[in-house]
Subunit: 410 residues, 2 copies
């Protein structure tokens, strides 16, 4: 039999838009022995996690819990549960992940309307509101922070318009939750999906979601108790039953409620990780955490600019936690990335679709978003660019970032 070596992954400095480095406290949490899924100690941890998620999402919603899967499992769960086949769904697209929402909505059997914004900018809210008034959608689905372009879409006015027009607003906040403000209640977002492996700095594996009473009312119209658990007919749905069992939020909420109606087997170790990651976020405080992300973004931008590099996209819609940098003319972007990883142990990201080969994407998210990482990246990037024949004034990137750090004005 072939021998497989002991696991011994290299230590990386991960400056991508996710997955990012994980706080050692979260890593330790995952190494604890497991509890059974209906052990009272475990269900208590589940309840605490729900409570903490309400804090994270800035909501008083009853429902806030993780879907067991990667971030897009949360997106699909919310969409397949809230979009009935034939529903009119409006999707404003301003980057790759808007296209993903389009794709998922189509697979849900929706009648999809899209409006598109040039990559690198976001929608003026009134444009989306006009589209809502003219298409009269049942559901609007939208990305908050687009990691493909490094932009953030203002949502407050769109939320209010959806409420007025009686559309449900689903928001993909995978890239923003825990890094920049996401105001579920204040912005009137009906369902929000977060991600673990970005600003929360927990390994990929769960997708925290929240939704309000308006969303729940729609779920309940599609509800069915599982065959093998129900006595009698089980279905009295006004709307077609959800096309997925795994992603049926009506069933998931019964599992997360005191009824604990058996569904999947909750991911014990990932729940430990999520709980510990949320503790870290709440101990730091949301506002302080958002400030921290802005502070390190400022240092990073100062450093990149001092090196003569240019940022991509509209400045006013820049997403704090993802900085897109134009690859200088004549430089092979992939060769730079691979030297950064191979020689310096630092990972930055390439890009998708129309931006491929044109920009690098640098993440400053969660635990990865710290002074020594930013300084390390700037120093290494300078060295690698010099090796690729790009003329950089030596040392200026790091010095400019140090200026920001020493000013200590947050």
């Amino acid at each position: 039999m072939k021998r497989y070596e002991d696991l011994s992954p290299s230590l990386r400095c991960i400056m991508t838009p996710g997955p990012v480095e994980v706080d050692p406290r979260v890593l330790r949490a995952m190494s604890y022995p497991v509890l059974g899924q209906f052990d009272p100690e475990f269900t208590e941890l589940m309840n605490e996690t729900m409570e903490m998620l309400r804090g994270l999402f800035a909501t008083s919603n009853k429902w806030a819990y993780p879907v067991d899967g990667t971030s897009r499992s949360g997106i699909e769960a919310v969409m397949v549960s809230l979009i009935a086949p034939g529903d009119r769904v409006l999707i404003p697209v301003f980057g790759r992940f808007g296209h993903l929402l389009h794709e998922i909505a189509e697979r849900c059997g929706a009648e999809v309307f899209t409006i598109e914004q040039t990559w690198g900018s976001v929608f003026p809210p009134e444009e989306v509101i006009a589209a809502i008034r003219s298409f009269k959608p049942d559901v609007v689905a939208m990305v908050h922070g687009e990691t493909s372009t490094g932009r953030v879409q203002p949502l407050a006015e769109i939320g209010r318009a959806c409420r007025e027009q009686e559309a449900l607003l689903i928001v993909d906040a995978v890239a923003t939750i825990g890094g920049v403000p996401v105001e579920t209640d204040a912005w009137m977002l009906d369902a929000v999906v977060g991600g673990t492996q970005k600003c929360l700095s927990i390994p990929s594996g769960m997708a925290p979601i929240t939704y309000n009473d308006r969303a729940e009312a729609k779920l309940l119209k599609r509800k069915q108790v599982e065959r093998g658990l129900r006595s009698g007919a089980g279905t009295a749905s006004e709307l077609p039953v959800v096309r997925s069992n795994y992603f049926d939020l009506g069933m998931l909420q019964d599992y997360w409620s005191p009824r604990r109606l058996n569904h999947h087997t909750e991911m014990t170790s990932m729940l430990y990780a999520l709980r510990e990651g949320l503790r870290l976020v709440l101990e730091e405080g949301l506002e302080a955490r958002h400030d921290r992300h802005r502070f390190h973004e400022r240092a990073l931008i100062a450093g990149l600019t001092a090196m003569g590099l240019e940022l991509y996209g509209d400045a006013e819609s820049k997403l704090t936690v993802v900085t897109c940098v134009r690859i200088p003319a004549g430089i092979d972007g992939e060769s730079v990335r691979s030297m950064l990883l191979g020689r310096f142990g630092i990972e930055i990201a390439s890009s998708f679709g129309p931006l491929q080969g044109l920009i690098w994407r640098i993440g400053t998210m969660g635990f990865s978003c710290r002074e020594n990482n930013v300084l390390r990246l700037l120093g290494a990037l300078e060295a690698v660019l010099v090796r690729h024949g790009y003329a950089v004034a030596a040392g200026e990137g790091v010095q400019a970032a140090l200026d920001v750090y020493e000013s200590n004005v947050r």
Copy 2:
């Protein structure tokens, strides 16, 4: 702000049909720092894991990889990808998880035919074969090991019949993989789904699957490259596109192939856990592992019988790794379970549907399946039963199990 305590879960002896105790080597693997999803070190770990999964499933299939979710995510992924709306699907049901397959197939839009067997026994293969000949299904979906009743369904003849009748056979081997033989190729199973949190003794969170060329051929007829990644039209499907993006195996296999076409963000820490768990299985050897499970089952049964307890269900179809015990008349089964957990730190399982209140289910799976656990459970169960007024000849359960262990005849 409310203070949340440090995580400190109690140490449990988990003798349920899952989730079960996790080997410390697997727990340690999860505490390693993460790698980026496209880091060459990480994709190498993905490839190794695929190789090990082929060994686990006893297959030379090209495709063997985990779906990122709990066990039922793997079941749903295989079903939604291989069952096109309108397909004829036969589901032989002999316990709760057969009903789950029925439910999922329905939600996939299938025309479902079920045959049912009394709980506590399995199907004579010829009965299923006759149903295949008469219903002429496109797909047959079946549970291998039914944890709700503790039975195991022989599959070899059914596999051959499906091949002859050109039906695809999907098998739920969540409870059996790594504990009792699952012969994917020899039994002609077209798609098999395993679970992590049972006989593999890895935390819940991934669902290893495998499927052969016949299954892949159907996937490819439903294939679509994701919006936002494709150039041009993207779809040229002969059959309707899969209703799920997250569970579309055609996309998942592109992500697991050398193309690494971006889909979800692979669960780093769970992959570390899966790889380490598979290493442990392959180091022990599949045959030795199956023998071990049979050996401890024998000791457990000897102990339970010596205590005057009665097993539930047909002896010849008993599933090695789950032992169902009739709750003696006049004993409150839930009170026994809760005293076992509260005083002794030992968890056993209750049961579903028609068996509720009638049986306990004891798991001997993976890392939980070891001598000191079996002896500890028998001693504790005796003490708890005495406390509940059930007359047990003192000490006999443990002595009977010790006899088996000391005989050391595997």
